[in-house]
Symmetry: C2
Subunit: 410 residues, 2 copies
């Protein structure tokens, strides 16, 4: 891989998302190899590429912590129906997915994500080897969690856990982290959870899963085991800081405390949860107990796009309503979830614009009137509440320019 020396020159604003959440004005960013090496008023030297950012805002690329990227092929085909009908329809279509379809879906989805400001995503699906190839081709960073579930429930050929292990061994890439994606307690036995965790721990792999998405899931697990999914996972020892759990809609305070105690990151997917009428993740309570909340779009069958700017906007709105308190889920918290907290969930050295961090950055055009009035105090508000992803102009991932002036280079 050939790395370059890139200068982001005279950035009008840099939204650092560092510890102090500093916003810098009129500074330049030097990218060397795959990292941010310097941020300063004046940087001199020779550069392979110079991007004039005097009319742009530079910020960390967004991190989409839960999707099924191949499902872009199912966009708009299962709307406005209850979960049972939705699952029937998507399960039928899932069965028809082959490597060619996964490739096409991944291409569409990855282009969509790059264009809407995402620089890293976590995927839960099968044929992740194909998704890995596509991500590599476009230069996209990804955590690819091969779907693991009991053999009797799967549409995969072969045994899911074995497939996942085989996949994890095959990946040798700076951009791709393999992971195990436990489908959910409704299709995974205790043994499947335990085996997955054991292997993941040995090989230092991340774990991902669907958790407490619907009331039905929780009620049926209580009927089956006497315990809620979270409590059951806590007791079998599956919860850990290497796990990110998507949805987490139906949780009690006690369960939220368990997630926090075990340093599990949750992945909030508001569009999908609202659209399927699953419910609303208890944001206020999670914040109260200190849980790390990241953000995800879920797949296109239930969202129906992969746009993290929309996900930020919808998150900020829904929790005010759900809590009947307009102070809940403020703009800074929301931005944190889409950047630095996402990086924490996926154990990636990104999510902020700081020296030493991976160079996963996007630039935004700030000339549109939806940025008016524009000043340091309104920037984050406009990102969360006003603009849309069409403002994303350039994308740099792992020190390489992936999109320039809205043109994807690969």
């Amino acid at each position: 891989m050939i790395f370059m020396k890139i200068l982001l020159k005279n950035c009008r604003y840099i939204l650092t998302q560092n510890k102090n959440r500093d916003i810098l004005e009129n500074q330049s960013i030097l990218i060397e190899e795959n990292k941010i090496s310097k941020i300063s008023k004046s940087i001199k030297g020779n550069f392979d590429e110079i991007i004039d950012c005097s009319k742009k805002l530079v910020m960390p690329g967004l991190i989409n912590c839960h999707t099924h990227v191949a499902m872009t092929l199912m966009r708009g085909i299962a709307d406005d129906m209850n979960l049972e009908d939705f699952l029937k329809k998507t399960f039928r279509l899932d069965k028809e997915m082959d490597k060619d379809k996964v490739k096409k879906g991944a291409e569409i989805g990855i282009i969509e994500m790059i264009k809407s400001g995402t620089t890293c995503f976590q995927d839960l699906y099968y044929y992740e080897d194909v998704v890995a190839e596509v991500a590599e081709k476009f230069g996209m960073r990804a955590v690819l969690a091969w779907a693991v579930l009991d053999k009797e429930y799967t549409t995969q050929k072969g045994e899911p856990l074995k497939n996942a292990i085989k996949f994890s061994k095959s990946i040798k890439s700076e951009l791709i982290k393999p992971a195990f994606g436990l489908q959910g307690v409704y299709v995974c036995s205790k043994e499947t959870f335990e085996k997955s965790k054991k292997y993941a721990n040995e090989k230092k792999l991340l774990l991902h899963m669907h958790l407490s998405e619907t009331r039905k899931e929780v009620e049926e697990h209580i009927k089956k085991t006497g315990k809620s999914p979270t409590k059951w996972l806590y007791e079998i020892g599956f919860l850990s800081e290497n796990l990110s759990a998507a949805h987490c809609v139906w949780l009690t305070d006690e369960e939220i405390k368990m997630l926090n105690e075990k340093n599990v990151s949750v992945v909030h997917c508001p569009s999908s949860n609202l659209k399927l009428a699953s419910g609303c993740m208890p944001w206020k309570e999670m914040k109260k107990f200190g849980v790390n909340i990241s953000l995800g779009t879920d797949g296109c069958a239930s969202n129906n796009n992969l746009d993290m700017f929309e996900e930020m906007h919808i998150s900020a709105l829904i929790h005010k309503y759900a809590s009947m308190d307009a102070r809940v889920a403020n703009a800074q918290e929301i931005l944190d979830s889409a950047t630095i907290f996402g990086a924490k969930a996926l154990k990636i050295n990104s999510g902020s614009v700081e020296e030493g961090k991976l160079a996963d950055l996007i630039t935004l055009d700030i000339s549109d009137l939806r940025w008016f009035p524009l000043n340091k105090n309104t920037l984050i508000s406009h990102i969360v509440y006003s603009i849309n992803s069409s403002c994303v102009i350039d994308s740099i991932i792992n020190g390489k320019i992936i999109m320039r002036e809205r043109k994807i280079l690969k």
Copy 2:
């Protein structure tokens, strides 16, 4: 005013929003004077302008039935705070508004609306004479409701109702309809409501108002009068088909029936209601009783943009959650609210692409991958759930091209 003969040639799709909600393929649209004169496979003749629509979708322009356009100046300055603090802050800033500021705010807001596909809006504010000038300049259609409230509560110079009457007399325009905008039961006496209605009826003017936006408004009116705002307005005879009422969050079934009996149109403003934690309009119940639901963005202090595509998306999501039923607020219903039902609320002969209707149309670029998979069955889904307003390419209002290839011509 000079009208032209415009041909929208070979439209890939026409989303008519006619009675049958037909979607036409590969047909052309002839615009003569300010109306749609013909829709057909082949239209021959001489035209002043031809727009190639072979790679575009043509649909009715969106109708934003409630905003305070000058408040674009207050975007991002009162976020994440409860209503009391929000009102304190915006009231203070409202007092500082003069004609120059209203002009600037209206310019920004109208440009934003054109770029995001709105071809008609209803405004509630003062200095509507200034807003009218700006709307005329850009060629935007508008219903401008001068804010009417009791003298002791207003920041206006002079008596609000007299100002509103004076304004209504001054308007002689095809594009602008003057109206009276009753601020709300908390600042308008019975006499103010009655006088406004009497004058409006005589002069055939529309009435607009804020209604039951917050729980507090309802509770205080019950304390003051023994009746809820809607019941009180019903009994004093203010409700009629000429009234559109914004928000309507806190309503009982009985009140919804009253609105329907009197053919009042409601204007749903989901972003604003969620962001201020006001609540969620009872969509399912309104549909059950047959109320005409239109859609609005509200002002930029509480939204914080004027993008009707976002308003559609958010509406479609929130009512599924609020009703715990994913079938509620389906994509077609949502699109109806933003087009044909908005036209009904504002008594304007638009909202659909049909021969004889006003030529208020937009074209959308359908090449973006967020339209994939693209066919007649997925179009409306993609408009509501997937794409964003950056797809809007051309805008025609009252038979004139207002925006072409995203460039506003005025």
